[in-house]
Symmetry: C2
Subunit: 256 residues, 2 copies
């Protein structure tokens, strides 16, 4: 018996299984290493509220979403007749049609439309991942469909939490943990990433009462203070849609 054999079962979780795809989690854009993901799918998670709003838009029939970083660019699109969703720190910009709440992206407003979208965090984050094989948007709203879709793609996965001003946040981490937990249970992925394992533990702690757990998140208080918290319960709802927003040629489109 080779040395350490008795321990091998206990520790097998930490030995990477080379036959499986790699799963990693990044708690902040500031921790994202742009190189090394040319063969990976990056899942952007910004559940309060950009990634939830984007999933809602596609659920309600939006054709595509053009993410833009600069306010001036969003304004120019508006002058050309586009529907524009634009906010900074939770406040709707004056020229925009609406802001960042999923409740804005109703069927009557977005069905059949292309939306130009500019938020505090989200659009810069998408640009950060341009060298990845593919960038998709994840949230609780599309979580089961996302798991099925990722399993079909046969690629390494990196879960990228938007965080808040480059800081770790609880709500995106818990959602990353929920996705990671599902992916590992599919038996197609392996991980030796501490962030992924910690995110799963936080998810398992949060899952019996997700809204209760999210109460402690700083963003929960920020949205409450601005009276923007009406959509939080909705953002924590699993499986509102089967749509997977995927970046293709500079715009998000729905894959199924």
């Amino acid at each position: 018996m080779p040395p350490g054999h008795q321990d091998s079962k206990k520790h097998q979780g930490r030995i990477p299984d080379m036959s499986k795809r790699k799963l990693e989690t990044c708690f902040s854009p500031a921790l994202f290493e742009a190189e090394g993901h040319a063969n990976s799918i990056v899942v952007i998670i910004d559940i309060l509220r950009a990634s939830s709003a984007i999933c809602t838009a596609f659920a309600n029939g939006a054709v595509s979403i053009i993410p833009v970083s600069e306010i001036a660019e969003a304004k120019e699109y508006k002058s050309k007749g586009y529907l524009v969703a634009a906010e900074r720190d939770g406040s709707v910009l004056d020229f925009a049609d609406f802001g960042n709440s999923p409740f804005n992206f109703t069927k009557d407003k977005v069905c059949g439309k292309t939306i130009v979208y500019s938020t505090t965090n989200g659009t810069g984050l998408i640009n950060l991942t341009l060298s990845a094989f593919m960038t998709v948007i994840g949230s609780f709203l599309n979580i089961a469909a996302l798991e099925r879709w990722l399993v079909k793609q046969d690629r390494d996965v990196l879960l990228l939490c938007a965080g808040w001003k480059n800081r770790f946040n609880i709500e995106d981490t818990v959602c990353a943990g929920a996705i990671a937990d599902m992916l590992l249970r599919s038996n197609c992925y392996t991980t030796i990433c501490d962030s992924t394992l910690a995110a799963i533990d936080l998810w398992l702690l949060a899952s019996p009462d997700l809204p209760g757990y999210i109460e402690k998140a700083a963003q929960r208080s920020r949205l409450r203070n601005k009276n923007l918290d009406d959509c939080i319960e909705f953002c924590l709802t699993p499986d509102f849609t089967d749509k997977i927003p995927v970046m293709k040629n500079g715009a998000l489109v729905a894959d199924i």
Copy 2:
């Protein structure tokens, strides 16, 4: 009754109490914002193994520890007769007296001595915090003394996890959570920091079987693979010493 009054008790944990000192946690040097800590004490946590080794050295009577970043600098000190502890990625450098295991810093070797210390992570991290009010070293080995000492100082506290190559790691986070939990229980601190709250949750999850929980940490496997894991159980031992390593004039000295 003002609007929202019924909810105020439920949410009071997220309203910062301005009469209390602020407690924050940073999961990686890459997330550390050098500005804004001129009045804060930064606690550096690198439990496997630098901060545990440093605490052990002072427990065993070391007079001071000079952290140096560059190998050439460590070599120069060696040529001048200093005791030198130096490693890179767990390997002792050939000119050094010993490496990074706390078990090297025995009474007979370090008592009454000044040690020059250069590790993969630790020394660069200390330099990063130069603009803070004070930098101290934390680990499980000095945790209760650290809590008492911090409470006496009457300063905001930032817990800075060394992580691994700028990534989040489980072991430093759990130790930060343990320290944060003690500080909040002292009733002198308040936090609105998601990282602190998540670290505490991971600590509470880990604490019933800390060595078992740390099994999942990537650094646990790295040290095992290099046969450097003999000291891990020791590094997880609470309250081996009352000494608080504090940076003063370019060197760590023991405060009590």
